[in-house]
């Protein structure tokens, strides 16, 4: 892959979508697809599809036949899931959102393994979430030193996230799935962060609803 352009963040963000589409295609018996067909199904352009795939190895569509669905899926699986080892994740904040989110972490197909959940509320500690007993956040240091989780999922308010993220960085956590309004990337530019700002998403939908072209 030495000579391929380095994929930009927008390209990286499109990979799961390609992966989902191609899996659906394979499940319905499709073995090859042109960049044009794939683009029209994904709401993008053929040239973008070709450029995106060009960032990763030697996948070339064949004139008149298109890309092999199997070849593309093999490539995407290697990129998204590596050798198949799941990334170990811990959940911080086991409230209503944390409970809903834990289901996405424990779904095997996403490539993660939830190994612990933490909360500060005595009402939650000791309860079970996705088959895992919720621990006190006071146990965070001891747990991380023993088990070296790779990813932390932050489902707690801004203030809590700000406090806990420094602790997590010190404990060697490299990746964050961040649902809080605390912008980790400003304080920790080297952290790998995926932000899911549900409130922001609702507000920008609201903007588009309220400022439609008449």
């Amino acid at each position: 892959m030495m000579n391929n352009p380095k994929p930009s963040l927008p390209v990286i963000k499109r990979l799961p979508k390609y992966y989902r589409y191609l899996k659906t295609l394979r499940a319905s018996g499709v073995t090859s697809i042109s960049s044009r067909e794939l683009a029209s199904q994904m709401g993008t352009t053929a040239s973008q599809v070709r450029q995106d795939f060009n960032c990763f190895g030697d996948v070339n569509g064949r004139q008149g036949i298109g890309y092999s669905v199997d070849t593309l899926l093999d490539m995407l699986e290697k990129l998204l899931f590596g050798n198949g080892d799941r990334l170990t994740a811990i959940l911080i904040g086991a409230g209503r959102l944390g409970k809903a989110v834990s289901r996405f972490i424990t779904t095997d197909t996403n490539g993660y393994k939830l190994i612990a959940a933490f909360d500060s509320s005595p009402a939650e500690i000791g309860k079970t979430i996705s088959g895992i007993q919720i621990r006190s956040v006071d146990e965070l240091e001891a747990f991380c030193r023993a088990s070296h989780p790779q990813v932390a999922v932050l489902c707690l308010p801004r203030e809590g996230a700000q406090e806990v993220s420094g602790r997590l960085m010190n404990l060697g956590i490299e990746g964050f799935w961040n649902f809080s309004h605390y912008d980790l990337s400003v304080a920790f530019p080297h952290a790998i962060v995926e932000n899911v700002h549900l409130g922001d998403s609702l507000m920008s939908l609201g903007y588009q609803m309220r400022n439609q072209e008449q």
Copy 2:
């Protein structure tokens, strides 16, 4: 605002973040801020901040003083929340994710009002979610014809979302907060859609974790 450039989607997506930052600043007593300071706190550049604000009305920072925090917040509130009327929303799919998500809809500060929730599971129908009784999805047509909701929140699997979104479009729903893997925008290019693909977000975090520069 006639001569301002039309804001692009990335600009629109940054508005809630500006709004959150500026509210925090006002709460801590800050009355003015330079584009440089605001940019550094938001992890962007001063020139982007100025360009973004330039899309909306006549907000000009004053040399040596900066932008008035109150003026910016007034502008952002008008853009994001209009005259203060909340958008009426219905939730389709009242499972674990729908329950967590309903809290974001009912939080007043996001500008929405949840007026109904629907599910197809007899186990959920009749239960209460965020103070609202869950209805059978069979009642969708009757409810929408009577109450004209503006936004639908889709918290159901791909197949269900595909089936229900055509019905919702026919019923005059204009906006979708879409948690399903069904890409509405392909079939309905005029719908206003905010997608939240939690599985995709986890997978692209996984890609970044597994393909770090050494």
